[in-house]
Symmetry: C2
Subunit: 665 residues, 2 copies
């Protein structure tokens, strides 16, 4: 094995936080156009540079008058004034209101000289030039000026907004640190501001260091062990969400000299450089070398699980010539994240995102943390802090949502969407009891926990059913395991295919029947006719795991065949090459057959039809959706039941599918 750094003296999580806090991630403030300022944070106070409004402004449609001329006027004894003209919004007044006169004004108009109040049009009558009242106030003003009867007294300033009354030049409008939402953008617009000084977005460079990583969209060669790069895109999105500006550096593959150049360049160009733990020792060595030559390693190794291999350091700028000279001063922060996606996102969420937010001047969103109650008991006590990925389920019962640990083992990317956030379990905590309150840091403030949690068999009709629900979560753990989990009290429903020996109390919400059997290459070149051929002939088989309903039906069929032949199932399966080779999903055996890696796969007629394979039927099995008895009244469960009741095109075009009335064991 390679020479590799050991993480003997692990830092505490607090020390890791302090180390990151000691780094300067904050970029210089910048000026952005108002149209792009939403969500940004004011870097300095903005004072009003102008009066708003900039003039004495009529705030009603009506007549501008000298208030003194209306004193004593009322319905019985209106004041009569000569109409000398009109002022409309957006026009300079061309009239002066002298004693005994008035001018028509629209809301928003500049008050004409001499006038100090507005009488609402509803309290006036137009008399015409002859002094006779005309029909309806506010009509027919297009012709000759006439006389206006004012049926109310007004005081100076009535229905006038004086210049600067809204906000006056020199007044404090918005303070530093203000987050710009639509309303602040409104106030800035009123002040005529079209460029705003805002806190800069920290530039966060993301350097991808695994030899085996390929960017999404590019071609993948699994035979070389290539996998898609999950962390770069996930962390880039997380950086953006935390108010930073992600910069993805090209992937250097196994060119370590290039990787070193990229790290130096990222340090020159960014406020923070992130890499995610490589499985390649050489890549880690490059990172150490770059930090040791130009920078400082503040800590390596933190006593958290996951995240032990986390690195925190500083990188001096000036190490590359890619950036302009002016940028190559000062230093950049560096954090090395673990390699597995859920671990990387967990460490990013716990230690790095808060630092980016802080540097961007953004508060932690209120929705980023929720209180929940443990839905199961869980044992700990590993001597270091455990950052436990958990899923949430809100039972709409007014209580805190149910929390259930998601631990699919190292490296599962599906944990990303099966968990909603992370619970930090203290090193001293040995056991979290069911019902205990825990605080869940959501992976992001926009994470929306599911409305419904289902577990069990995977099935194409089920996929369609799930598409009709609002935000369900479904874990395809197989029928047996699904029932086990339902019994343990976390999920709402389990989907069960074929026979099962588990005794779990459930409420049957409905289901369908699917045809299962042997998937063979198109045209059935080996001329497979039934299970006997699989047992007797030299055919390569692909199976499903024992938790799956398909496997249970297969084993029942093998039992029947063994009875027929007066032997045991074990005897029969000994002769099946690949009986122990189980693959994960309902289409997986068929795909192995198509790839030429097997001759026969366990599967559905629907899969064979969809993937243009041959099919040998072995029977039908029911698929039933079963609810936990205490969840049948939940909105999401009744919605599921309703979707099941209304088959519509749920089964349309699915080969071998039918509605079932019977629910066979």
């Amino acid at each position: 094995m390679s020479d590799r750094k050991e993480f003997r003296d692990l830092a505490t999580p607090e020390a890791a936080r302090e180390a990151i806090d000691s780094l300067d991630l904050a970029p210089e403030p910048e000026t952005v156009p108002l149209a792009e300022a939403r969500g940004r944070v004011l870097a300095e106070r903005v004072d009003a540079a102008i009066d708003v409004p900039g003039f004495d402004r009529a705030s009603m449609d009506g007549y501008a008058v000298r208030a003194r001329d209306t004193f004593g006027a009322d319905e019985a004894d209106p004041a009569e004034l000569d109409l000398v003209g009109a002022v409309h919004a957006g026009a300079a007044p061309e009239v002066t209101v002298s004693p005994g006169t008035c001018a028509e004004v629209s809301t928003g108009a500049v008050m004409p000289e001499g006038a100090d109040a507005v009488v609402m049009v509803e309290r006036t009558d137009e008399l015409g030039a002859d002094g006779e009242a005309e029909t309806g106030a506010g009509e027919g003003a297009k012709g000759d000026p006439g006389r206006i009867a004012v049926r109310t007294a007004v005081a100076p300033g009535d229905h006038v907004m004086s210049a600067g009354a809204d906000i006056a030049a020199g007044a404090r409008a918005l303070g530093p640190g203000t987050r710009l939402t639509p309303r602040e953008i409104g106030l800035l617009s009123a002040l005529g501001v079209d460029e705003v000084p805002v806190e800069g977005k920290p530039r966060v460079g993301i350097v991808s260091t695994g030899d085996e990583l390929v960017r999404p969209g590019e071609a993948l060669d699994p035979s070389r062990g290539e996998i898609y790069d999950v962390n770069s895109t996930t962390i880039a999105a997380g950086v953006e969400e935390a108010g930073g500006e992600p910069v993805l550096y090209p992937h250097a593959g196994d060119d370590y000299a290039e990787m070193e150049r990229l790290l130096r360049r990222a340090a020159d160009e960014c406020d923070l450089v992130l890499s995610s733990g490589s499985t390649s020792a050489s890549a880690v060595d490059v990172i150490y070398r770059v930090i040791e030559e130009r920078g400082e390693l503040l800590l390596h190794g933190v006593a958290v699980k996951p995240g032990k291999p986390m690195l925190v350091g500083r990188l001096d700028r000036g190490g590359s010539d890619a950036a302009p000279e002016s940028d190559r001063v000062g230093e950049s922060a560096y954090v090395g994240l673990p390699g597995y996606p859920v671990s990387a996102l967990t460490i990013f969420r716990t230690f790095v995102a808060p630092a980016i937010r802080e540097a961007a001047g953004l508060p932690e969103p209120a929705t980023a943390t929720v209180e929940g109650r443990m839905g199961v008991g869980e044992r700990y006590g590993e001597g270091r802090m455990r950052l436990m990925p958990v899923g949430l389920l809100d039972l709409d019962d007014g209580d805190r949502p149910l929390v259930h640990p998601v631990d699919k083992g190292s490296g599962a990317t599906t944990s990303l969407v099966e968990a909603d956030g992370v619970v930090a379990v203290d090193p001293d905590t040995e056991y979290l009891d069911r019902g205990e309150t825990v605080s869940v840091r959501l992976f992001s403030p926009d994470v929306r926990p599911p409305s419904l949690l289902g577990v069990g068999e995977d099935d194409p009709a089920l996929n369609r059913l799930l598409d009709r629900l609002e935000n369900p979560r479904y874990l395809p753990v197989g029928s047996r395991e699904g029932l086990r989990r339902l019994r343990d009290g976390v999920p709402d429903v389990a989907v069960v295919a074929g026979p099962t020996d588990r005794e779990v109390e459930t409420v049957d919400l409905g289901g369908w029947t699917r045809e299962w059997g042997l998937v063979v290459p198109a045209g059935n070149p080996a001329d497979v006719t039934g299970l006997g051929d699989v047992v007797d002939r030299d055919l390569r088989f692909v199976n499903r795991p024992t938790d799956s309903g398909l496997r249970r039906s297969l084993d029942d069929a093998l039992d029947a065949l063994a009875d027929e032949r007066s032997t045991s199932r074990g005897e029969l399966t000994e002769g099946i090459a690949g009986y122990d080779l189980t693959v994960r999903a309902f289409e997986s055996p068929a795909r192995r057959v198509i790839a030429g890696a097997a001759d026969v796969g366990l599967g559905l007629r629907e899969t064979a039809a969809r993937l243009d394979c041959g099919f040998v039927s072995l029977g039908e099995q029911s698929v039933t959706v079963r609810a936990a008895p205490d969840r049948t009244e939940r909105d999401a469960v009744t919605a599921l039941a309703a979707a099941l009741d209304d088959p519509a095109d749920l089964l349309d075009g699915l080969a071998g599918y039918s509605r079932n009335s019977r629910n066979d064991p």
Copy 2:
């Protein structure tokens, strides 16, 4: 007055909501690069197209073995295997593991043919070619292959993630309607997806219809009654926040033919067209004409305050030749918003933003609505629903935040930032009592209510003090009004300048002294020497309102002068031209002097110095920050007191400012 539509039959708010719901705002789904997909909503289900991992993958550093070869091995009796080579992550295996052999593997490596399990490096010893144990596992593997002692038994599949075990090709990965946060982007990356089908963003055209409106950044002519266009930018930001794509159309001013062309073009190009109520009757007429000619008016006038003039309709496409032929089919929705900024944002938030969210497939954010308790009692009962703008203040006492109505009258843009959201008060509600629970729709989910609410005098040192606090809100209502509001129980602190006759129980947190007097043009051309000149000579004066502390000190000085002259203050002020002309902020009188609109203004030495004016001192007055007695323990109030205690550069460079020990009345 012009011929104008009357809103006689007002629709109910429910009818308005139904009318908007009946419009089709939803755009076609689109495909976006994964890097731009954050925050978008999946338009269809994404199934896995590949197995993840795509190969049987070592999940530990160690040795790939045939499990059978390790059966029975333990610490006392290790199994010894020949090392035949190594497989690293990102490389194709070049070795085969036959019985009795093993291959070194790194985490992530492809399992070599023949091997079915991995032994962790920690449970092995390297023996060297000679069979002797070497120092430390995993060291010195660079030389000759040797033999490996395996000190544990493993079962087939141990420390191996089989192909498709994370997610298998054909399995459901993400359902339609899923909001894409970093974690979903991670899963899509793992599947190699680099383009995602997402719900389209509704295009929302914003047509600005007021003759008097000028876009921020352009020059303003207040003498023509011009004001900056607040609604276009505010609503554009709101559209963006709700998940739409705002399109701002150029401002047509008073060119009604052009406005008509713009409306038709917006209908062709957008899913929804918004205009905000114009004060110009002609502009409203244009809107009616366009809708009547090509479209349908669903309702005009809604029984809400504000929002009575709201319009809802449809506009047929094809009315302009600006858009490509293909776009000019179907119809666009139209909503006319009120003209005043707070009213426009209120109606937008209440009726339009939910419809945009719905069309974009986005849920209403959890933070968009909060429960609060009325901080004051308020009378209603106007026979229609009142959408009341309110401010919030969270007292950190575990109780719901305090809610206080913000009603600065029509058209105040500052209400935008003094209110945090809207309470919908039912038409039947006659009175909301202090303490009553109300539901506040925040103007946007990112609105963060203030940490501290202050009221009172405006002052430049106070502005600096506020800059040091985290998210304060300060309403410059003057000293008198500030004390009144403090007594009524909503604000935390009042800032009081000069003498006051209000008896309000407060806790003095500290303050300073400022020099006040007469601001005159630079060089004091009229040779003003004191208050006597203002009283006796023909000088144009500008005053501050009676609520301000500056005005109180001025009136006290006038009282003293009247005593000296054995007359009354009233007699003296009769002779001051402009004594009743009061302007809003502490700099406003000085600015009028600079503009040549006055000869003398009431103001501060600091203002005169800053604006390069002359100054005639009339004295000093104290400015004190006073807390409500029940708020002194609040974090934000103690932070304010601490900032006051540590003057630092609070008063540095402010002319005429000093720390005061005395707190003079």
